[in-house]
């Protein structure tokens, strides 16, 4: 076997994986903390990517800088959705299933709005550094991938330290572990949930931009991203930020290696099959779950 090829696919796998992790943490948090499975999570990621694309072409704004604009927008949108769509369903008998159906609706609306605005053509985020490559010996690092990798690393670490170190983050964790006790200690559950949801959607936007550095995208792409989300979150354990990050890396390495050794069209089949197998044998994830 070709060692250089293996190392190259490992590296590209780790880079892809970190991006899956950034896309996945928010999904994991809303599922774990709020008991809401947000099917539209990847769709918001895609919206972030499209906003970055438009800003890049209109003002030649760097995709990473465009987040300064799109993240607050997504946060605001998420708060509205939380208030008017998520809150009413929290009284349902099975919140988690109801949330899946409702957010399916949001995903369909958003997908078709994007189709109307941006048409179904596949897009690429082509920046000034797209074709630049960092060469270290026999190894190649494409700049856009490096940018996606660093962005994802920073994003996941920020979310991790937010949850571990800040008061707000501790409140989120408390709300997840002991909702009633947390309320006794003065944690406003509704407000915490709204902020969690907003942060999750904003991080999805960042994850979407990072994904757009790696792959071409069009308004239907979120279906594929959604499967990656489920895979990463279920492997990593629901609500577990570091588990999700680790799972992202594992999935990334697996896909990276299979891209190198399998025909392209079999890779997704392998990924989906893997998710089915894991769901059947270990639906609780591979790692112990904790926020």
């Amino acid at each position: 076997m070709n060692t250089v090829l293996v190392v190259r696919s490992l590296i590209s796998g780790i880079m892809m994986g970190s991006v899956y992790a950034l896309l996945g943490v928010g999904f994991s948090l809303t599922w774990g903390v709020m008991k809401v499975i947000n099917i539209s999570h990847a769709t918001f990621g895609l919206l972030g990517a499209f906003i970055a694309y438009t800003l890049l072409h209109a003002w030649s704004l760097d995709p990473i800088l465009s987040l300064a604009l799109s993240a607050p927008l997504l946060f605001f949108l998420a708060c509205l959705i939380y208030r008017f769509i998520i809150v009413p369903i929290t009284k349902a008998k099975e919140v988690i299933v109801a949330s899946m159906i409702v957010t399916f609706g949001i995903a369909i609306i958003l997908e078709n709005v994007m189709l109307l605005i941006w048409s179904p053509d596949p897009r690429l985020l082509t920046t000034s550094y797209t074709s630049k490559v960092l060469i270290l010996g026999p190894l190649y690092f494409q700049y856009p991938r490096l940018a996606g990798f660093l962005m994802s690393l920073a994003g996941v670490l920020v979310i991790h330290f937010f949850l571990k170190k800040t008061y707000m983050g501790k409140a989120v964790r408390a709300a997840w572990q002991q909702p009633d006790a947390a309320q006794l200690y003065g944690v406003n559950l509704q407000r915490i949930s709204m902020i969690t949801f907003g942060l999750a959607i904003s991080s999805a936007g960042a994850g979407g931009v990072a994904m757009a550095f790696l792959y071409a995208f069009e308004p239907h792409t979120h279906n594929l991203w959604l499967i990656y989300l489920f895979l990463v979150v279920i492997v990593g354990g629901v609500g577990n930020v570091l588990g999700t990050a680790l799972a992202g890396l594992i999935i990334g390495v697996i896909t990276g290696l299979s891209f190198a050794f399998l025909p392209y069209q079999w890779v997704n089949l392998l990924t989906f099959g893997l998710l089915m197998v894991i769901l059947v044998f270990r639906p609780q994830g591979l790692f112990q779950s904790e926020v």
Binding site: F104, I109, E111, M276
Partner: protein, 320 residues
């Protein structure tokens, strides 16, 4: 259901009149568009009614039901192209298509039905993607080019009318299955599973067996319908018969009308198919889907038990 005898007799009479009117419809020389619209309505009634057996009665939301429809379509296509079937056998061959779908449902259902709630929804969603990609990657199934079917040696009007009648027949059987389920011990068992699976098992309900049976039944009619649909189009492609949107529409139709009743999915399928076809034809497909998305949200928030319950309650009739 206790109804006065004369009232139920009158109801049977009107239902018969409706079915006879539907049966003669394609022979009246009405524009093709309307015949094909009605054909689509039948198709969605079959899909939603069948989905309801596992999704509505048992509460196991399958988000991948389109897989069974597509499997039926491909089974039939392979059979027509593999054997030289006479026109009559062509129609009958949708039955093995249903059987293949049901068998696959048993095999897939065995591990998958152990999962509950969201996990079941995710695994069925994933299953539909796997089947779609698998078929796309297999060259003997036409791969990414799709499959052409030999069409029957008859005038196109007659062929269309025949398929119309066959689809209607399947629809009648699937509705009958729905009615039987809602009144039988089988249906009561499924309702008990939906309410609380652990409790159901303590009162001697064999939940795993019932769930598999329900899943297989709910895959059988979509498989048959897929077979008929494949002939009707004479060309099938994974993007058509494994379209994710169909899976989602089925769920919405059943929930819109009211899952767990036999009438709900029928009403949901009729209303939503007409809205969808109307908007897609006269406005834009994207708008039709945006309306769908809004309906998903509206149904869950404002009428979680479906439109029938919603209107009953609005009129002051107690639920149940």
């Amino acid at each position: 259901m206790v109804t006065p005898d004369s009232k139920s007799r009158r109801l049977v009479f009107w239902v018969l009149v409706l079915f006879i009117a539907l049966a003669v419809f394609p022979w009246l020389g009405i524009p093709v568009y309307f015949v094909s619209l009605l054909f689509t309505v039948f198709l969605y009634v079959i899909l939603a009614t069948s989905w309801n057996i596992i999704g509505g009665f048992a509460g196991y939301l399958s988000f991948g039901h389109v897989a069974f429809f597509g499997i039926g379509a491909y089974t039939t296509a392979m059979m027509i192209n593999g054997f030289d079937l006479s026109p009559l056998l062509t129609i009958v061959s949708s039955i093995p298509a249903g059987v293949v779908s049901a068998l696959i449902a048993v095999i897939v259902g065995y591990p998958c039905l152990k999962l509950r709630g969201p996990y079941f929804a995710v695994i069925t969603l994933c299953f539909a993607f796997v089947v779609d990609l698998g078929v796309k990657n297999l060259d003997i199934l036409g791969g990414p080019e799709g499959l052409w079917l030999k069409s029957m040696d008859l005038p196109i009007d007659i062929i269309r009318a025949i398929f119309f009648e066959v689809m209607m027949l399947i629809m009648i059987f699937s509705i009958a299955l729905g009615i039987w389920t809602s009144n039988s011990k089988f249906g009561a068992g499924l309702r008990a599973i939906k309410e609380d699976e652990e409790v159901a098992q303590t009162i001697a309900i064999n939940a795993p067996k019932l769930k598999i049976e329900a899943f297989a039944l709910s895959a059988f009619f979509p498989g048959m319908a897929g077979g008929v649909y494949a002939y009707y189009l004479t060309y099938i492609h994974t993007d058509i018969v494994f379209d994710m949107m169909i899976s989602i529409l089925i769920v919405l139709m059943a929930l819109f009308g009211g899952g767990g009743t036999w009438l709900g999915p029928v009403i949901g399928a009729v209303v939503l198919t007409l809205i969808n076809e109307g908007l897609s034809t006269f406005v834009r497909a994207e708008f039709a889907r945006i309306v769908y998305g809004c309906l998903f949200i509206g149904v869950i928030i404002f009428m979680p038990n479906g439109i029938i319950e919603f209107f009953k309650r609005a009129k002051g009739v107690p639920p149940g």
